[in-house]
C-alpha cells in the first residue's frame, strides 16, 4: 500500500507537481526534512498529517511564499524556483487559504478581479463579469457575480476564493483545510466541484486531518509526519482510516513509564457541561486585546459547530489528565473557559468551590495556576524584566502588591527563587525576557506558576519549542508536583508528553470530548482514529469509551 520513496526518481511528465527532498529550516526547527510529493495531473491529491507535521510549510514552499533550503520543485517535469507567490501564479499554481481573504463590502466579481483587473485605465467590468460567468459554468461553481460578499454563506465565499484563483489562470489548486469551516452538505458540494475541476484537467491538492473525507474523495494520498513523507498511497481503496491514522501518528507510541499511582480521591477540578456558543455577539475581550495589539479585530474562525460543546471532566489530586486532539478542536477554548478568559456556560469547580461566575483573577486566587499555550503571545512580556514577568498573572494577588503598589523587593526575591529552583539560565533578574532562550523563558513561566502553590494547574503545551534539556526539567517539575498532590490538566500536541505524563487521556474533536483512553494501553491506531474522527469510518464507536464514564460520548 505504501510505496517507498526512492531518491533520484526519473523525471516523469505525468506528474503535474513533483517535490523532491524538500528541506526547510527555521531558527531552531527543521519544519520540512526531506519531503517528497508526487501529484499526477488531473487528480485530487490529499496531504494528511498532524498539526506541526510540516504540511503548511510545504504548501508555502510550493506557493512561493518562501524558498526551500534544499530540494527541487518540478512542475510538469521542469525544475522551477518561485521567488514569490506571483511567480507561482504565473506557473499556474494558486492557493486557497483556510481563512478567506475577501473584502466583504465588495461584490463577488469585484473580489475576483481585485488585483488583476482587466482593462488599463478603465475597469472593463463587462469583460470581467463574462469571464467569471464562463468560469463558474465551466467548473460548476455557482455564484452570482453581482452579489455582495457580505451576504454570502461560508460555502459560497469559498467558491469565490476558488474562482479568484482560477481567474488568475491557475491550473493547479492548493486548498488548505478547505472543509474546516464547512457544514456537511457544503463539504459534499465542495468535493463535487473539485471533481468537476479535475475532469476539466485541473489538478487539486488539499490538506486535511479528516481521514474519512480524504478516503472518500482523494485519488492519491501523501502522509507527512515530523517533516518527512512517511507514506504515498496511489490507491486509497487499499487503506483503511485506521492504517492512515497510524501512519500519521507514528507506528509506535512512546511507552508510558512505570510509576506509582498518586491519584487521590478528592476532586480538585470539576468541569460540568462547559459550552461556548459559536456566534459571539458584540465586541469580546479577545477582539479588544487583538485590537490593542494592532491586529485584526475579528471574533475568531467561523465554525459550523460550537467551539466548545458540553465538555465535562474531573481532575483529582495527584492526577494528570491529558487532552489529546488535533489542534483547533476546542482545546484553547476549554482552557480559556476554565480560566475565565472566555465567556462560557456550564460549571467550573475548584476544590468544590463553584468559580463559574468569578473573574480570571478570582479563579487564580482560588488556586488555579496557568501556563498559557503560547509563551511569547500570552505568557510573558518580552520587553519587561524577569522580575516583572514573575508578577504577571499574579499582580492582583497579595504576593507582590500592597495597597495598590508593587512590592519590588518581594517580586525580586521570588524571581531569584524561581531562577534558582527551576534552573532558569540567566545572567540576572533585571535582564529583559527576550534575552532568554525559549526553554529558559518557559522554565520561568512554569516556575512562576508553581511558586504560587496552586491546587490545580492548567498547562497548555508546556514544552513546545523548547530544547530537550528544558523539556526534561519541566517534565520533572510536573511529575514532582503530581506526587505532591497537584491536579494537572495537560493540553499538548506532543504525544510523547501526553502519554508519558498523563494518568488518563481525553480526546477532543470538534469541541467535544469524544473518548477517554488509558495511556498505558492505547494503540496509535485507536488514538489517531479518535483524534481525526475516523473511528466512525471504521465502524467503531466512542460510545463505549473505557474509563469511569466521566467523559461524555
Amino acid at each position: 500500500m505504501t510505496t517507498a520513496v526512492e531518491p533520484g526518481t526519473a523525471i516523469d511528465s505525468a506528474y503535474a507537481i513533483e517535490l523532491r527532498g524538500i528541506v526547510k529550516r527555521f531558527p531552531g526547527v527543521v519544519a520540512n526534512d526531506g519531503v517528497n510529493l508526487r501529484v499526477r495531473e488531473g487528480t485530487i491529491h490529499a496531504i494528511v498529517g498532524e498539526n506541526g507535521a510540516g504540511k503548511s510549510t510545504l504548501m508555502k514552499t510550493l506557493y512561493g511564499a518562501h524558498q526551500p533550503d534544499e530540494g527541487d520543485i518540478l512542475i510538469h517535469g521542469t525544475r522551477r524556483t518561485f521567488r514569490s507567490p506571483s511567480a507561482a501564479i504565473d506557473m499556474g499554481i494558486g492557493m486557497v487559504f483556510q481563512h478567506f481573504m475577501l473584502a466583504d463590502n465588495f461584490t463577488v466579481w469585484e473580489n475576483i478581479v481585485l488585483g488583476s483587473e482587466p482593462g488599463h485605465l478603465r475597469l472593463n467590468m463587462r469583460k470581467a463579469r463574462r469571464r467569471i460567468r464562463e468560469l463558474s459554468e465551466q467548473y460548476g461553481l455557482e455564484v452570482d457575480p453581482d452579489e455582495l460578499v457580505a451576504d454570502l454563506g461560508v460555502g459560497d465565499k469559498q467558491r469565490v476564493e476558488i474562482l479568484k484563483v482560477l481567474y488568475r489562470g491557475a491550473r493547479i489548486l492548493i486548498l488548505d483545510e478547505p472543509t474546516a469551516v464547512l457544514v456537511p452538505h457544503e463539504v459534499t458540494e465542495l468535493f463535487a466541484s473539485l471533481e468537476q475541476l479535475t475532469q476539466q484537467g485541473a489538478t487539486v491538492i488539499f490538506i486535511s486531518h479528516k481521514l474519512d473525507e480524504v478516503l472518500g474523495n482523494a485519488d492519491a494520498i501523501t502522509v507527512i509526519r515530523a517533516g518527512k513523507t512517511v507514506g504515498e498511497i496511489d490507491d486509497p481503496s487499499t487503506v483503511t482510516a485506521g492504517e492512515l491514522a497510524e501512519m500519521m501518528v507514528g507506528s509506535e507510541l512512546p511507552s508510558p513509564e512505570t510509576r506509582e499511582a498518586t491519584v487521590r480521591d478528592d476532586v480538585r477540578l470539576e468541569v460540568v457541561g462547559l459550552t461556548i456558543e459559536s456566534a459571539p455577539t458584540g465586541v469580546d475581550t479577545v477582539a479588544l486585546a487583538a485590537g490593542l495589539a494592532g491586529g485584526i479585530e475579528s471574533s475568531g474562525t467561523p465554525t459550523s459547530h460550537r467551539p466548545l460543546d458540553d465538555v465535562s471532566l474531573r481532575v483529582h489530586s495527584g492526577e494528570i489528565v491529558g487532552i489529546a486532539g488535533v489542534e483547533g478542536n476546542g482545546q484553547t477554548e476549554l482552557i480559556e473557559a476554565i480560566m475565565g478568559l472566555r465567556p462560557a456556560s456550564g460549571i467550573v469547580k475548584v476544590d468544590e468551590q463553584d468559580v463559574s461566575e468569578l473573574s480570571n483573577t478570582a479563579r487564580r486566587n482560588a488556586g488555579i495556576g496557568y501556563v498559557a499555550e503560547d509563551r511569547q503571545r500570552d505568557g510573558m512580556v518580552l520587553s519587561m524584566t524577569l522580575w516583572e514577568n514573575v508578577i504577571l498573572g499574579h499582580q492582583a494577588g497579595d504576593d507582590f502588591t500592597h495597597r495598590g503598589l508593587i512590592d519590588r523587593d518581594a517580586a525580586r526575591e521570588r524571581t531569584r527563587q524561581v531562577v534558582e529552583e527551576f534552573d532558569v539560565r540567566t545572567p540576572g533578574i533585571d535582564v529583559s525576557a527576550f534575552t532568554l532562550s525559549g526553554g529558559n523563558q518557559q522554565k520561568l513561566i512554569v516556575g512562576r506558576e508553581m511558586m504560587a502553590k496552586p491546587h490545580v494547574l492548567i498547562a497548555a503545551h508546556p514544552t513546545r519549542g523548547v530544547d530537550v534539556g528544558a523539556q526534561a526539567v519541566i517534565w520533572d517539575i510536573l511529575r514532582q508536583a503530581r506526587s505532591d498532590g497537584l491536579a494537572t490538566l495537560l493540553i499538548s500536541a506532543d504525544l510523547d508528553e501526553l502519554i508519558g505524563l498523563s494518568d488518563r487521556l481525553l480526546v477532543m474533536l470538534r469541541g467535544k470530548v469524544v473518548a477517554e483512553v488509558d495511556p498505558q494501553t492505547v494503540t496509535p491506531a485507536e488514538l489517531g482514529s479518535y483524534m481525526t474522527g475516523a473511528h466512525q469510518h471504521d465502524g467503531r464507536s466512542a460510545s463505549g469509551s473505557p474509563g469511569d464514564g466521566e467523559a461524555p460520548a
Binding site: 475581550t285 473573574s359 505568557g379 499582580q395 492582583a396 503598589l405 508593587i406 540567566t426 545572567p427 527576550f434
Partner: protein, 373 residues
C-alpha cells in the same frame, strides 16, 4: 549603566543634528544664510527673561504631553486632548467667575471642574471603544469638532461677559481664583528675574503631575497593568487584566489630566484669567509630539517641552533678520521625525547588545535567542 546613558542621549543628539541640517537647507533654499538665522535665534533665548518665558510656555505643553502619554502607554491615541481641555477650560472659567470663595478652595474647585469635564469628555470615546470597538482616533477627532462648536455656542449664549458686549469671552476670574507667580519665591533665595518678568505659578502643579505619573506607572499595580496591556495586550488578557476596563480607565485618566492643560494659562497667566477667542486651543496636538519625542517618559517629556518652547521662542527672532518664521516649524518637525527614527535604530541596537551580553553572561551554552517582536 553607561550604555544605558549613552542610548538615552544618543538618539536625541543625532536627531538634533539632523534637524539643524534639514532646517539649514530650508534657510539656504529661502536664499538666506543659516549662520545669520541661528545667530539671531540664539540671541533671542540668551537671557534670564527668555528662560522664564520658555518655562512658562513649556508648562502647559508638558501637561499635554503627560495626558497623551498615559494613553500611548497602552497604544491608545487620545487625539481628543484638545477638545477635552478647551471644554474643561471654558467650563472651569465660567464656574470660577460665577462664585466667590476663599483662595485655595477657589483654585481647587476650578481644577476639580477641569479634571471632571476632561474625564467626562474622554469617557465618550472610552465607552465607545470598550463596548463597540469604535477606534478612539476617529471618535476623539470627531469629538474635537463637537467640542469646538459646543464652546462657540456656550460662549456666545451663556458664559459671555456682560460687561464686554463686543468681545466673546468669559468674565475675568477674581483674585482668589488665581495662582500667584513664583517670583517672590525666587526673590526669597536671592534670585531676581528683572522687571516685568513673571514666572507663572502653575509650574509646581506640573512637577507634581510628572512625579505622580512616574509613581503611577512604575510603582503601582495599575501602572503595571497599563504597561503590560501596552507591551503585550494578549498576555495582559491571559493574566486576567481586562482590556475593557483598562481602555475605559486609561482614556478617562488621560482626559482628566488633559483637563488641566488649559488651567495653567487660565489661572496663572496674567494674559488670560478668562476664556476667550485668544485662548490657545491646540496644545493637545503639541502634547502628541512631546509624548513621542520624550518617549512617554516623565523627564524625557519635560526636556521635550522645554526644547519645543525654546524653538518657538527662538524663531521669533527670525523676523528681525527677514527670515521666514516657518523655519521654526521645519526645525520642530524634522527634529520630531528624526528623533522617532533614531529611537527605533537605537532600540534595535541596544536590544541586540542586551541579548548578546545576556548570552555571554549566561551559564551554559545557547545558540539563538528570540528577538523581540
Amino acid at each position: 549603566m553607561n550604555r544605558r546613558l549613552l542610548t538615552t542621549f544618543a538618539a536625541p543628539a543625532l536627531a538634533a543634528v539632523a534637524a539643524i541640517v534639514v532646517s539649514s537647507v530650508a534657510v539656504l533654499v529661502a536664499g538666506e544664510s543659516p549662520a545669520t538665522a541661528f545667530k539671531a535665534m540664539w540671541s533671542q533665548i540668551d537671557s534670564t527673561e527668555s528662560i522664564v518665558l520658555i518655562v512658562n510656555r513649556a508648562v502647559p505643553y508638558y501637561v499635554a504631553g503627560v495626558a497623551v502619554a498615559i494613553g500611548f502607554k497602552m497604544n491608545l491615541f487620545n487625539i481628543g486632548a484638545n477638545g477635552q481641555y478647551v471644554l474643561a477650560a471654558l467650563l472651569a472659567a465660567a464656574a470660577g467667575a460665577a462664585v466667590d470663595l476663599p483662595a485655595p478652595i477657589h483654585v481647587a474647585m476650578i481644577m476639580g471642574i477641569a479634571v471632571v469635564v476632561g474625564a467626562t469628555w474622554a469617557a465618550i470615546p472610552a465607552l465607545l471603544k470598550a463596548y463597540r470597538g469604535v477606534n478612539e482616533v476617529i471618535s476623539t477627532i470627531m469629538l474635537n469638532y463637537v467640542a469646538t462648536n459646543l464652546i462657540a455656542y456656550l460662549l456666545a449664549e451663556h458664559f459671555r461677559n456682560p460687561d464686554q458686549p463686543n468681545i466673546r469671552e468669559t468674565r475675568v476670574l477674581p483674585e482668589s481664583a488665581r495662582l500667584p507667580s513664583l517670583n517672590s519665591l525666587f526673590e526669597a533665595i536671592g534670585f531676581d528675574f528683572g522687571p516685568g518678568v513673571v514666572l507663572h505659578g502653575f509650574l509646581p502643579v506640573a512637577i507634581v503631575l510628572g512625579i505622580g505619573y512616574h509613581v503611577l506607572l512604575n510603582r503601582s499595580r495599575f501602572g503595571f497593568n497599563l504597561r503590560v496591556s501596552g507591551e503585550n495586550p494578549t498576555a495582559a488578557r491571559a493574566a486576567g487584566i481586562s482590556p475593557r476596563r483598562m481602555i475605559i480607565v486609561t482614556l478617562i485618566m488621560s482626559g482628566a489630566i488633559a483637563g488641566l492643560i488649559g488651567i495653567g494659562p487660565l489661572i496663572a497667566d496674567p494674559q488670560f484669567y478668562k476664556y476667550g477667542d485668544q485662548f490657545p486651543v491646540s496644545y493637545g496636538f503639541i502634547g502628541l509630539s512631546l509624548a513621542l519625542l520624550g518617549r512617554n517618559h516623565p523627564v524625557g517629556m519635560a526636556a521635550a517641552a522645554l526644547v519645543w518652547a525654546t524653538i518657538e521662542r527662538a524663531t521669533q527672532a527670525l523676523s528681525f533678520v527677514d527670515i521666514p518664521q516657518e523655519i521654526g516649524i521645519i526645525l520642530q518637525g524634522s527634529f520630531l521625525l528624526s528623533a522617532i527614527i533614531a529611537y527605533e535604530i537605537v532600540r534595535r541596537l541596544s536590544a541586540d547588545a542586551e541579548t548578546r551580553a545576556a548570552s555571554r553572561e549566561t551559564p551554559g551554552t545557547r545558540t539563538i535567542a528570540e528577538a523581540p517582536a
